[in-house]
């Protein structure tokens, strides 16, 4: 099977280019396996991130034939040859498929992704009913691979100001948590045209999420809550 891999080493190359490889594909082979095989057998200078190999760590987000996905859980057989592998779009390239995710993490940090309590902390756990706990399903599973935010045009144009789908999914994860007590502050922090409202419901995030989460729905719920708190 023919592979085309985005190559760019800022120390040596003036511009990025696509390098072609031919690789014998095994049944059940994942993209990460293919990249590792290419690195082992053909060109050890190919750079990419990966770690757990089972869709848990979120290290190996890549763009394959135009679609963001996790290399370790996406079978090569899902794609037609040639398989073009590029880094996640819109991020500065460090080298080959390795991108600089600093802005993505800054946006995550900006939504204060932790419980904020005003009451004194109890001696034991803060209990939740099963229904309250259920609110967090579809939110807490995010592994921060960055596939969604780097597929979002609004995040491409304003990555410094728009939080992006990943951070907004987490914003909703804490807004809807029965144990959190900073709803007003969180909503105030999201007001303005950028942080939340650059989302135009394009839904690329929903399409690419390897965990089948729905940031667009979470963003809609934040807007709804904001409206309810405003009138």
């Amino acid at each position: 099977m023919k592979f085309r891999i985005y190559r760019y080493n800022p120390d040596q190359d003036s511009t990025p280019y696509l390098q072609e490889f031919e690789l014998e594909v095994r049944p059940g082979m994942m993209l990460r396996d293919a990249l590792m095989a290419l690195k082992e057998q053909q060109d050890e200078s190919i750079s990419f991130r990966h770690s757990c190999g089972e869709g848990v760590c979120g290290s190996d987000g890549i763009n394959v034939n135009g679609q963001n996905c996790l290399g370790c859980i996406t079978p090569v057989s899902d794609f037609k040859a040639p398989v073009t592998i590029r880094p996640l779009p819109g991020r500065p390239v460090v080298r080959d498929l390795v991108v600089d995710m600093s802005q993505f993490y800054q946006q995550y940090r900006a939504v204060k992704p932790y419980l904020i309590r005003k009451d004194p902390l109890p001696e034991q756990e803060i209990l939740q009913s099963p229904a309250e706990r259920e609110q967090l399903d579809g939110l807490y599973e995010c592994i921060m691979c960055g596939c969604c935010s780097t597929a979002c045009p609004s995040f491409w144009w304003n990555p410094d100001k728009f939080h992006g789908p990943q951070a907004l999914l987490q914003a909703w994860r804490f807004l809807t948590d029965s144990r959190d007590q900073a709803t007003e502050e969180r909503l105030d922090a999201l007001e303005g045209p950028y942080k939340l409202f650059r989302c135009h419901t394009i839904m690329n995030c929903v399409e690419v999420c390897p965990k089948q989460l729905n940031p667009t729905r979470a963003i809609g719920q934040i807007k709804e809550l904001m409206l309810r708190h405003s009138i």
């Binding site: 007001e191 303005g192 942080k195 939340l196 409202f197 135009h200 807007k223 409206l227 405003s230």
Partner: protein
């Protein structure tokens, strides 16, 4: 927050104006389909009805609001140099206000000549 353009208000205005536009489109297309005015007299007589005139004025107000939020969104997304952005938004605002005033004049004159 006061030095920022609005987020929630613009979004809500866009949704509400969209709903009105949708309903009005059904009404106006239905009207022209089933009961089209046959002459200028019939047309201006129809517009002399205050309900018709107000509904139409509201329609154009909704169009202008909707257009303002939409253009503002596009400019915020794509136009980053601040002077270009201010110029574009100013021109858009002037065009929209001008169009609105002209529409008011047109609807008033059409109704008045009945």
């Amino acid at each position: 927050m006061s030095r920022q353009a609005t987020g929630l208000r613009a979004w809500v205005l866009q949704r509400i104006s969209a709903i009105y536009l949708g309903i009005y489109f059904i009404y106006i297309i239905g009207h022209f389909l089933f009961d089209p005015p046959t002459s200028y007299q019939a047309w201006s007589g129809w517009l002399a009805d205050p309900f018709v005139a107000v509904a139409m004025l509201l329609f154009f107000a909704a169009v202008l609001l909707h257009a303002w939020v939409g253009v503002r969104d596009v400019v915020i997304d794509y136009v980053h140099p601040i002077m270009v952005r201010v110029t574009l938004l100013t021109l858009t605002g002037l065009c929209l206000i001008g169009s609105g005033l002209w529409v008011m004049r047109t609807i008033y004159l059409a109704g008045a000549s009945a």
